[in-house]
């Protein structure tokens, strides 16, 4: 029983960065923009998130407000990067895949360069610690599973219903879905396609920045150039895995990280089995599920990856 509780209680916080970034990518893709630059935006968020508390505390404890200022800075700059990306792919209609790779390199390179300039080498920060919910965290089994986490864990899981509500129950969400599915039809009824795509990319960028800051401020509590380590690309894959739906994306993120926690626990048991296969397990799982999700292709935004030009007939 303890074995299972440990896996579950670790899988939940591990999933947060992926979940937040995937939700951001979902907004991007729902509006018809494929953002492979998520990794770069996360890297910038990770760096800027820890820059504020590090600059003030130099490794020592700082009042919690500075950590949250770091989160806000990361989120804000993420939104700006999203707008910059929108400028490239929406206004200038650059090929989204290539521009995304450019954004990924730009983000990772800029974060690494600024890190070397302002901080120097790998440094840690006290970061944001676990905040057990009084009373609830003491409930046997459920307490450690659901009520003994970092504040951002609760925020991330609250973002799931919030994203669902925004996407499916608000006029703005309807516009996002419309421009990602039938931009010409949306345009014909007066929706400003490019403006909505700018907004969706700003939201996506902000969430990518927040996801990066979670890694540097809450999970690892340090930064190095390679902190994201491909998680931005996994977030993109999880959007497909979750069929562009917040709840399914959450399921995908949890499945991935629970598999991760499981493989770590199995390694710890000392079973005679090559660890390389266990390390592969979460990635293999995502590939298998994607391969067998036949509906996925049908459910995606039909204009995903296609630039919109209202002057051009399709």
């Amino acid at each position: 029983m303890t074995f299972i509780i440990n896996i579950l209680s670790l899988g939940i916080p591990f999933s947060v960065a992926l979940l937040i970034a995937s939700l951001g990518e979902m907004f991007n893709q729902r509006s018809g923009i494929f953002n492979l630059g998520c990794e770069g935006m996360m890297a910038m968020g990770a760096f800027l998130g820890m820059l504020v508390p590090y600059s003030i505390g130099k490794g020592a404890d700082v009042p919690g407000i500075y950590n949250y200022l770091g989160l806000m800075l990361a989120t804000g700059v993420g939104a700006l990067l999203g707008i910059f990306f929108a400028l490239v792919v929406v206004t200038f209609r650059a090929p989204q895949g290539i521009a995304g790779i450019g954004m990924q390199m730009f983000g990772v390179g800029t974060a690494g360069t600024l890190f070397r300039h302002f901080i120097g080498g790998t440094q840690s920060v006290p970061g944001i610690n676990t905040a057990p919910i009084p009373g609830l965290s003491r409930i046997p089994v459920l307490g450690p599973l659901f009520f003994n986490h970092n504040p951002l864990v609760y925020v991330a899981f609250l973002l799931v219903p919030l994203s669902w509500w925004v996407l499916f129950k608000t006029p703005w969400g309807l516009r996002v879905r419309a421009v990602g599915t039938h931009p010409r039809a949306a345009d014909s009824i007066g929706i400003q396609v490019n403006r909505v795509r700018y907004q969706a990319l700003a939201v996506g960028g902000a969430l990518a920045g927040l996801a990066g800051a979670y890694l540097s401020l809450c999970q690892a509590k340090m930064f190095s150039d390679e902190i994201i380590a491909g998680r931005g690309f996994i977030a993109v894959a999880l959007v497909y895995f979750g069929q562009w739906h917040p709840v399914k994306i959450m399921g995908g993120a949890l499945l991935f990280t629970l598999a991760q926690a499981l493989q770590l626990a199995i390694q710890g048991l000392g079973i005679d089995f090559p660890y390389e296969f266990l390390v592969m397990l979460p990635y293999l799982l995502v590939i298998i599920v994607l391969a067998f999700s036949r509906k996925t292709q049908k459910m995606g935004p039909t204009s995903l990856g296609k630039p919109f030009n209202r002057e051009m007939r399709t």
């Binding site: 200038f92 450019g102 954004m103 390199m105 840690s124």
Partner: protein, 370 residues
């Protein structure tokens, strides 16, 4: 269309520029004048005029270039080599001129090697087994230059040195400490991959634990990466939740493990490290001991070999016997170390220091932990 293409190229160019800016150029650490290295003959007072001593020929300045995949301040693998060369520069005044190139992926490193070769460097070190193929090819192309790579015990050419830390020794010492001080009898070990010196460290650690506490359970888990310290934090949290109260790990990813241990500020959960730099960081209050590579031993050996006209074809071991390792208890946590632990560690340390050559006291290859 042209406009879009222009913007796309501009974004890519900026991206590439920023990535390349992350790689430091090759500053020269020090280049003292060769004359400083001339040994002064001893003067002995004598009633008769002393014969005129022949002035030794000024020793040649050896230009060493280092190529690393991370940075010189990564508090791990690359920093250890950089610190070692810097120390060797100080220990051999006027003898060594040193430059380095950071963040060199094996596919990019070829151009750096060519530049160093063109600039007349005497020794080019690719610090990591991933540079083996590159070094082997370049060594064949430039037979007058000495190359070195590690960690490996392979001999790949007459002008190539390899170096191999016998990390089972440092692992063994940390294992003794962990085995004697664990209260839960569960110990966590965070490995990057099961290969090279990491495999030796891990197995030495297991042997150390078992030598003093046969019933202890050593939980071994690999992250599959040398640099993904986020994953190392996940492993550490997983092991701590499973009862581990002393943890260890190697390579730069291990810093994530230490960071996770530091999250348990008021709990009896400790870290035994594989890098002395870990003692000096804010999380150092959780470090009981650390042992570190002293690559100055490798560099000093290289200098001696080059002075003797040997350009390669040898493996240089690193161990306590040739001062290739440094071990230290953390003064800040010394109160946790009992006299029995200290005696046991000192006994093993003395055995390692007395063991010359490649053979190690610790038979690391016999350990199978999964």
């Amino acid at each position: 269309m042209k406009k879009a293409l222009f913007v796309l190229l501009a974004v890519l160019a900026i991206g590439l520029l920023m990535v390349s800016c992350g790689k430091k150029e090759t500053p020269t650490a020090t280049a003292p004048a060769p004359a400083q290295a001339v040994a002064q003959p001893a003067t002995v007072p004598a009633p008769t005029p002393a014969p005129v001593a022949e002035q030794p020929k000024p020793a040649k300045v050896i230009k060493i270039a280092l190529i690393i995949e991370n940075t010189i301040d990564d508090k791990g693998w690359c920093q250890a080599m950089h610190d070692g060369i810097t120390l060797a520069v100080q220990q051999n005044p006027g003898r060594i001129e040193y430059s380095y190139s950071e963040k060199m992926k094996p596919v990019d490193a070829g151009s750096a090697v060519l530049q160093y070769a063109g600039q007349g460097y005497d020794v080019i070190i690719g610090h990591g087994a991933q540079y083996k193929n590159l070094i082997t090819e370049m060594a064949a192309e430039y037979p007058d230059i000495s190359f070195a790579f590690g960690t490996s015990s392979e001999i790949v050419g007459p002008n190539v040195f390899s170096y191999m830390p016998q990390s089972e020794e440092t692992g063994y010492l940390n294992g003794l400490i962990a085995g004697m001080l664990t209260k839960s009898n569960v110990i966590g070990l965070i490995g990057p991959v099961d290969g090279g010196d990491a495999a030796r460290y891990n197995r030495g650690f297991v042997l150390g634990v078992k030598a003093v506490n046969a019933s202890a359970n050593v939980m071994v888990a690999h992250t599959g990466s040398f640099s993904d310290f986020v994953k190392a934090t996940e492993v550490a949290h997983s092991q701590i939740r499973s009862g581990a109260d002393i943890l260890t790990g190697s390579s730069q990813q291990a810093l994530g493990g230490l960071r996770a241990v530091a999250d348990y500020r008021d709990k009896d959960i400790w870290w035994v490290g594989q890098d002395l730099a870990q003692i000096g960081i804010p999380e150092g209050y959780k470090v009981l001991s650390a042992s570190s590579y002293n690559y100055a031993a490798v560099i000093n050996t290289l200098v001696k070999r080059l002075d003797a006209g040997i350009k390669g074809g040898e493996n240089i071991p690193m161990n306590f016997n040739n001062d290739g390792f440094v071990f230290k208890f953390n003064d800040a946590t010394k109160s946790k170390i009992t006299s029995a632990v200290e005696a046991k560690v000192n006994e093993a340390l003395a055995a390692f220091k007395g063991q010359a050559g490649h053979a190690s006291v610790v038979d690391w290859s016999s350990v199978k932990y999964n």
